[in-house]
Amino acid sequence: MLCMLCKQNPAKVHLTQIVENKMQKVDLCEECARQKGVNDPASFSLADLLLGLGASQEIAQTASGVEIRCPACGFTQADFKKAGRLGCAQCYATFSEGLESLLKSMHKGIKHLGKVPVALRQGRDLNERLKHLQKKLDKAVTAEDFEQAASLRDEIKLTRSQLDSMPAKVTP
């Protein structure tokens, strides 16, 4: 059996807890168990681990005593501990450090691979095109091919204006 958290090492720490008449089981490898502070069963709640509420403690730790507050919505780590939900989209940046290990424990990866809004995808494509054109321009200038350089410059200008005319919301 593999560890529930890292899904790599064999699970050696097996815990069962009964909370509100519901049995919860966790199987962890030694490394993850140590990281989660599982060696002290008295202070440890499986619910926290399973529901990811334990992350609130991690957020608190990274704050090293100073309470972090989301500049956009005023949400704090204490609020997260209470609600298990974040305050706004900006919170993901605000609490990114503490959230990473939480996300690792609950998801397949921590990089989004799915759908991307079309406008954003187009912006990304234009940016790549811009880079590509810039490289070609540099080459043309080095080769003193000024005719091509001039046409490339026009193309770059056009691409830039396309990028500028896109709604601001799509900048990643």
Partner: protein, 369 residues
Amino acid sequence: MNIYDFLSPPVETARRTGPHDRIVMSSRVRLARNLRGFAFPGWAKKNERVKALEIIRPAVECLPQLTGAFSETMDNLGPLDKQILVERHLISREHAAKSTGSGLVLNKEESLCVMINEEDHLRMQALRPGLQLRQAWMAMDQIDSELERKLDYAFSSELGYLTACPTNLGTGIRVSAMLHLPGLVLAEQITQIISSVNKLGLAVRGLYGEGTEALGNVFQVSNQMTLGEVETDIVERLNKVLLQIIEHEDNARNVLLEKKPKIVYNHVGRAYGILANAHSITSKETMNLLSLMRLGVDLGEFPPAERALIDELFVITQPAHLQKQFTGKLGAEERDLLRADMLRERLHHVSRPNPKTAAGGGPALDKRN
């Protein structure tokens, strides 16, 4: 317009069919989305929620797929109406608890349902009868792509769609199916199946989702991970697992019928006996017994046409639906009496289960799909 008048009558919804619908009652794909620059609904102040609703609602309403849809704010729906929507699996119990600043848009076919300001600004779901996850995903994807042109979604290229709860982060997708698994329950294999499904990173829940019990042998299977994987992979993985569960359920039924036919006939016969003759019955007992009668239909002990009746009874015997048919507030005990009356009347024409017509030598169980 009243939501109850808008919804298709249960006698019609019970006749909807789809692939593998003996075992897979319905398929669902849900997407969570939020607006940039607005606090998530659970943290936002009331006026901010109202503002978000005022932006989202018209954008959703004017989607071509939602022409002629039912659209209402949650404070304009009564508690009974909300409970009816929950019993139809169209909104979550959390959403039923919402009021000012939350809304609902539902299309006529009841195949698209958008909850506004539930846990996230947008919870959109595509629903299909039977096993149709791919179709549900395609419908959902299309709606989402149209909405993203009008709404400014909170999205990060690193973390994907940003959601109130980190468990929905990334794709914001929840793919699920409702399964009727009486065979696995009777064969006492269900715990084993649930634990192997859990090991694949999928969740198994009861009839009404998170934290509910599996009434009527109905289980909900869904993905748990939403980040680090492409939507179509999530859909395909669940689809594959569901096909395996269907096979296990079929096998369990076949083995039971072969090795312990008396146990199966006993369960079905007693279920029929109680449902058709009781004078007081709870909603919970009704569901569990209807589940066994449904199994009886699948096994050929009742005529196939009776399945629509059983599925209809599944819906109309639930508390809010029952209350809706009577004026005056009913207590739980009164409801139990009225429920029993209704069951006796509706099952009056159904003749006793006949093991001789059962599938032993007849057609294989769920092979028609």
